[in-house]
């Protein structure tokens, strides 16, 4: 009886064994990548909105401050989406006949909400609070990216749990002085962008913003390299008075002992200490976000 399988079958069998393994691995990798892909996370996707609102135009172009619209960002877990009335504050006067703004006028006239699609949409079982983040030195751009350069809003980061934990396990990399929270152009401290900070002798119970005084220009005189660039992008027109978050008394007190930080790690550690940021062990405990 002739053999059913000739010699080449051995090679085929071996190859198929290897191939099966590879396929399983490839499938795993694909699924893993799929789960992290923009298709799932919506990273970078521009959703259809009733009005193609441009943050670039309103923030970079007109210089509106974030809180003009997102009023409760410092006070509540929810930053707030502006009511139609906020749009109409200006658009009752300018661009009153623009076609693009028809839905806004329609909403104003009918009393029906404008229906936006949520861009930064966390799952319902994750409880995120804007309030504590912006009060403890985490700026808008750290999570939302350069919103001032987005003609149409999109999600810059994955907003996945691993991304949250990256920071909760090592907050130092993203912390900045609370005076710089709304500064879209903020760059981490480095040799080119040094930051000078001084601890203010504050009583317990002083809000975080009053515990540290920071500046991006050398308080001892002279301009730091690159410091002026950052300062010029301040959304709050702070002119040259860079000491923006020290209490009034402290402003007048010249004896503050400024330290120059040329690395983000060092600045982050300084702020962790003075802003009383909880330890990574506490920050990455489950109940912080899930309950």
């Amino acid at each position: 009886m002739a053999q059913i399988f000739d010699r080449s079958s051995n090679a085929l069998a071996r190859a198929s064994l290897v191939l099966t393994g590879l396929i399983v691995i490839a499938l795993g990798v694909t699924l893993d990548q799929l789960q992290r892909s923009p298709w799932v996370t919506r990273q970078g996707q521009r959703a259809d909105q009733p009005v193609p609102f441009s943050h670039k135009h309103h923030v970079e172009g007109l210089g509106l401050q974030c809180q003009y619209c997102h009023t409760s960002v410092e006070k509540s877990s929810y930053a707030g989406i502006p009511p139609t009335r906020t749009c109409m504050n200006c658009h009752a006067q300018i661009w009153t006949n623009a076609n693009l703004l028809e839905p806004v006028r329609e909403s104003w006239a009918s009393g029906q909400s404008l229906v936006w699609t949520k861009i930064h949409d966390l799952p319902d079982y994750a409880y995120f609070s804007h309030e504590i983040h912006v009060n403890k030195g985490l700026g808008c751009s750290s999570c939302h990216g350069r919103v001032d350069e987005m003609p149409i809003m999109y999600q810059q980061n994955t907003l996945q749990m691993e991304w949250c934990l990256n920071c909760h396990r090592n907050p130092a990399v993203n912390l900045r002085p609370t005076s710089e929270i709304y500064n879209m152009a903020w760059k981490p401290a480095s040799d080119l962008n040094p930051v000078w900070c001084a601890a203010v002798d504050a009583k317990p119970g002083t809000p975080t913003a009053g515990t540290v005084s920071c500046t991006t220009t050398n308080p001892g005189g002279g301009t730091g390299a690159g410091g002026s660039e950052q300062a010029s992008l301040h959304l709050i027109p702070a002119a040259n008075a860079q000491v923006t978050d020290a209490p009034a008394g402290a402003m007048a007190a010249p004896q503050l002992n400024y330290t120059k930080f040329t690395s983000q790690e060092a600045l982050g550690q300084f702020l962790i200490e003075h802003y009383h940021i909880r330890s990574p062990r506490e920050l990455s405990s489950c109940e912080v976000c899930h309950r």
Partner: protein, 1048 residues
């Protein structure tokens, strides 16, 4: 398994061979044997349920399984191979399911945002819950203007933040999807303007004749403004008939006060000044059904906290209770006497005679036990003249109230522990008589337009009045009601009413303080209020309820020059109008105690009608929380029953769950029988409010006791007969649900006098208590004796955690807990706990995170009981954490034992390993994701759990996190008292204290240092974060001796 049982027999042979074998070979004790064994038992031996004592097969089956019946066993015939195939496929699918993307979520911003609203931060508003026994002042948590939690107003002088189950349950009542949503005309949808035109037309027709043929029937008027409108309407239509009627009312108290003082007055009891309290069938510790519950419970508990014990100032009160149906008041009492309801008037008269208030009644014979009780209670009262008080039961006859008045007068208590004031209800009347006369008029054809306001007389009027037939003789009937109920369906016009959380009104608390009821939300279904109806009678019919309420109190809410609304706004902010509390009214006249009716023989059965502890007279029957929460004492969920003593059950030849036909005055009702420890013999208690036909929750629950309630004796009636019918009725009784298989192995001592769990309760010190004398001698009593040793924290094989800042802990005072269930309902509301329904409760799947365990002790006919609120103990070394294969239950850096719902895969190992049995599993999709109105009610800070997920008490972690964020923003530590758990907030007696045990100055840390503080099952080194403060009873030693209590 086999080995174990052999070992057991061996042990049994060494020990109590005879009885152990009885236990092992399945020769179970009968209930009768248990009863006989328990008879006369005294001393600290505990039991939880009779089934358990007798070791019935049902009970044995129940304890074998973690969750009884069909819960954990794999009973499918699928082979291992195909099982694995299916599992593999589902695993793959589950993996894929994890890859789904979230759907797009829309945002609906405001068009014009309300001023001062910060979305995501709750706002609190003061209002009041107008209840027939007096308003409950409230502070309502509102999230984006949706009321999401109802709690007592912590600043109000009356309740100081306390609430009760019904008040807590009114939140679900607001969002009840079965609420009436439109105006109905003869069963067809109609509209308010059409009705109003018709109604005002009818009024206009009657105007000329002064309202001849017009009648208004309202539930008890609680609002002073409504009373003002009521009186004005009466003046405008002098011939119209205005009647109030509630099936549970204050007729007895009013009749007695009229007889004694010639006027309607309310009695306010000052328990903070009373050392001896005698309750004559007054259930003042179980809920708002008793007027002044919140204040009475708080003052009662204050005198039992033993705060000054270290300095030798014990200052403890002593409570004697005489009652028919066992209530939490009776079980909390230091001495309790079970008497038939019809004997209590005579006993009250005898007590009055014994303290020298009146002459003794004749023709009554008392048992020697009752004689002893009478003698020593009277002596105690006499010795404490001016520092004692006698409280009559609301649902006892006027004679009991008169006796109480006489005793309080004779002992000089008036002005000290009791004051007489104006009535809280602005229009006191004898409602039973008024209803009878209204029905007579209706039958005589004298009424041709009847307006029914917030009442449901077709369901709840006494059966012999045949209200529905009488209503048929009225040409036109209009009904205002929250539900399209029995009455609504039978009338021409039905109008949907607005809930109190949707409307303007006012009401007085028990102490007389006026609260303004302000709306929390626009009426969900455009409901209307009684104010609108009565205003229609007047010259300016369109004045709103808001304007009417402002008008009533304009003198009490003065403005300032700069701000005309200042006074009004202050009232709305504070929640009450200052200086409106009643002051003592000089109540002249002396109470004459009428001679009691002849004693009824024990063989004549008596039927006692009481409101249901949870759903009251039936108006809250459609509130799922209240239906599901086990009633105190009976632990029955989703039912009512013919409640009687074991002796009566036996005498009638019945067994529990038998269906019986109760006949009273020719009227019959079918009811399932149930035995209650400590119930008076020869008496059957029926709870009103069940047996509703309509409602997705209330429909088909229990039986309708109104079907035999006579108008002549609506409180209790004698001469009932009971016939056993075929069939049985399965109750959902929760008391034995939380057994543990461990207890089977441990075994009782087999004597049938205390149960397996009870055995552990004493051997391992789950319940620890002492008399005041014992406590004085040995303050450390909670830690002495066998089984009380707590292992050193270092004995664990697991490493200890380190807590730098906060370490949360709870202390529960067993002396203060009155078992009222307010905490349980509060927990439902705060934590979005689903309602599962009777069938699921029967198989042990109820979801309440917090339960109140009742441990009975002693004789079946005269037990004591101990209430122990039991929720997750947040063990330092938590057995559940060690066995979770997916890390879904974890220890936090502040010592909480947390559930991460998204990680949970539903193995239930954690629940298996939990010694306290406090974990709850979502066997099915219990959470209602569909019903729109319920979505509004949910607490947005807590996840709504889906199927297949374990859950349990989280120490209200959402509240801890909110406090942490606030404190971190302000760079300070969390203050003591800043985090209040939902159960703590609701507790009317402040039995629960929560806080940071790392802070030595916190209240909870101090309580944990008390010598009476102990941890439950701490001997297995779980190191529970919740500890209990052991109970101390203030016994009258002489009475105890005379009754032979605690002889051992």
């Amino acid at each position: 398994m086999r080995e174990q049982s052999t070992e057991h027999s061996a042990q049994g042979a060494v020990g109590d061979a005879n009885e152990m074998q009885q236990g092992n070979q399945g020769t179970k004790l009968t209930l009768a044997q248990v009863r006989a064994k328990l008879a006369g038992q005294k001393g600290k031996r505990y039991w939880r349920s009779i089934d358990e004592l007798a070791g019935t097969p049902e009970f044995e089956a129940a304890v074998r399984e973690e969750f009884p019946e069909q819960a954990s066993e794999w009973i499918d015939t699928v082979s291992r191979r195909s099982f694995l195939k299916v599992m593999g496929a589902s695993m793959a699918l589950a993996g894929l399911a994890g890859c789904t993307k979230q759907p797009d979520e829309p945002i609906y911003p405001y068009v014009k945002a309300p001023e001062d609203l910060i979305l995501g931060k709750p706002v609190y508003f003061a209002t009041a819950f107008p209840f027939a026994t007096g308003a409950v002042p409230l502070l309502v948590k509102s999230d984006a203007y949706r009321p999401v939690k109802v709690d007592g107003n912590p600043e109000h002088p009356y309740n100081r933040g306390g609430s009760d189950p019904i008040t807590q349950g009114t939140l679900l009542d607001l969002y009840d999807p079965d609420r009436s949503q439109r105006v109905m005309h003869r069963g067809e949808s109609s509209t308010w303007p059409v009705f109003l035109a018709n109604f005002r037309g009818a009024l206009a027709d009657k105007k000329a004749s002064g309202g001849e043929g017009l009648a208004v029937l309202s539930s008890t008027v609680t609002s002073p403004t409504l009373a003002r409108q009521w009186k004005a309407a009466q003046a405008a239509y002098p011939k119209a008939k205005f009647v109030q009627y509630d099936p549970v009312n204050r007729d007895s108290a009013y009749t007695a006060s009229k007889a004694a003082f010639g006027d309607y007055v309310d009695a306010q009891y000052k328990l903070d000044a009373a050392d001896v309290i005698v309750s004559l069938d007054a259930d003042f510790l179980s809920g708002a059904a008793h007027p002044g519950f919140h204040r009475l419970a708080k003052d009662y508990a204050k005198k039992r906290k033993l705060e000054g014990a270290k300095s030798g100032d014990y200052g403890m009160n002593r409570l004697y209770a005489v009652e028919c149906m066992t209530t939490t008041t009776g079980l909390k009492a230091d001495h309790r006497l079970a008497l038939r309801a019809s004997d209590i008037p005579a006993f009250a008269a005898a007590l009055a005679a014994a303290v020298g208030a009146v002459s003794a009644p004749s023709g009554y014979t008392w048992s020697s036990d009752a004689e002893a009780f009478l003698k020593f209670a009277a002596e105690d009262l006499k010795a404490n003249g001016g520092k004692c008080v006698v409280i009559p039961g609301e649902l006892q006859t006027p004679a009991v109230h008169l006796a109480a008045i006489a005793i309080n007068q004779a002992l000089g208590n008036v002005g000290k522990t009791v004051i007489y004031t104006e009535t809280v209800n602005p229009l006191p009347s004898i409602q039973g008589d008024d209803l009878k006369s209204l029905v007579a008029d209706m039958n005589a054809g004298k009424v041709d337009y009847l307006l029914i306001l917030n009442a449901n007389p077709v369901y709840s009027a006494p059966v012999d009045l045949e209200f529905e037939d009488a209503m048929g003789k009225v040409k036109s009937v209009a009904h205002l009601g929250s539900h399209y109920d029995e009455t609504g369906r039978a009338v021409e016009w039905h109008v949907n009413s607005a809930h109190y959380l949707e409307s303007w009104s006012d009401a007085r608390a028990y102490d007389g303080t006026v609260s303004v009821v302000q709306p929390m939300i626009d009426p969900l279904y455009g409901g209307h209020t009684a104010h609108e109806f009565l205003q229609s009678f007047l010259d300016n019919p369109d004045i709103s309820a808001y304007a009417a309420v402002r008008e009533t109190w304009k003198d009490k809410t003065p403005g300032k020059a700069s701000d005309a609304d200042f006074g009004w706004r202050k009232v709305l902010h504070d929640g009450w109008i200052a200086d409106t509390a009643f002051t003592s009214k000089s109540a002249g006249g002396k109470a004459q105690v009428p001679a009691p009716a002849a004693q009824v023989g024990l063989d004549t059965l008596e039927v006692v009608f009481r409101p249901d502890p949870n759903v009251y007279d039936g108006r809250y029957a459609n509130v799922g929380w209240l239906q599901e929460i086990p009633r105190p004492v009976t632990n029955v969920s989703w039912d009512n029953a013919a409640l009687m003593s074991y002796a009566t059950l036996e005498r009638l030849g019945l067994e529990e769950q038998n269906i019986v036909e109760i006949t009273l005055n020719g009227k019959k009702v079918l009811a399932p029988a149930m035995a209650v420890p400590g119930h008076a013999d020869g008496s059957i208690t029926l709870h009103l409010g069940q047996g509703r036909m309509a409602g997705r929750v209330s429909g088909g629950v229990g039986f309708d006791a109104y079907q035999i309630r006579p108008s002549g004796s609506p409180l209790h009636a004698t001469g009932a007969t009971v016939k056993k019918m075929p069939g049985t009725w399965g109750f959902a009784v929760t008391k034995s649900h939380y057994q543990d298989h461990r207890s089977v192995a441990v075994g009782g001592d087999g004597s049938g006098t205390h149960s397996i769990e009870g055995n552990e309760a004493i051997d391992r010190g789950i319940i620890r208590w002492a008399t005041l004398e014992e406590f004085k001698k040995e303050p450390e009593f909670a830690h002495t004796g066998e089984g009380r040793d707590v292992p050193e924290p270092t004995t664990s094989m697991f490493p200890s955690y380190l807590y730098n800042q906060n370490a949360w802990g709870m202390s529960i005072d067993m002396n203060s807990c009155v078992g009222c269930n307010a905490c349980v309902v509060s927990c439902y509301a705060e934590n979005n706990i689903p309602v599962v329904g009777k069938q699921q409760v029967r198989i042990g799947r109820m979801m309440q995170w917090l339960r109140i365990d009742t441990y009975y002790e002693g004789d079946l006919a005269a037990p004591r009981a101990h209430f122990q609120p039991m929720a997750c103990q947040h063990c330092e070394h938590a057995p559940c954490e060690q066995v979770c294969p997916v890390g879904a239950t974890v220890h936090t850096p502040e010592g909480l034992n947390m559930m991460v719902y998204n990680r949970c895969v539903g193995t239930r190992y954690c629940s298996n390993n939990c010694p306290y049995k406090v974990r709850r599993f979502n066997f099915l999709l219990y959470a209602d994701y569909e019903t729109e109105s319920l979505k509004l009610m949910r607490n947005p800070d807590v996840s709504v759990r889906s199927r297949g997920v374990m859950e349990k008490c989280s120490y209200c972690v959402q509240r801890i996190t909110a406090a942490k964020i606030q404190a971190d923003k302000e760079n300070r530590l969390i203050r003591d008292g800043e985090v209040v758990t939902a159960c703590q907030q609701a507790c009317p007696t402040d039995a629960i204290v929560f806080g940071n045990i790392n802070d030595g100055n916190s209240r909870v840390a101090k309580l944990k240092k008390e010598e009476r503080s102990y941890g439950v099952l701490a001997d297995i080194s779980t190191q529970p974060r919740t500890t209990y403060v052991a109970e101390v009873l203030n016994l009258n030693e002489e009475l105890s001796k005379a009754r032979g209590e605690f002889a051992s």
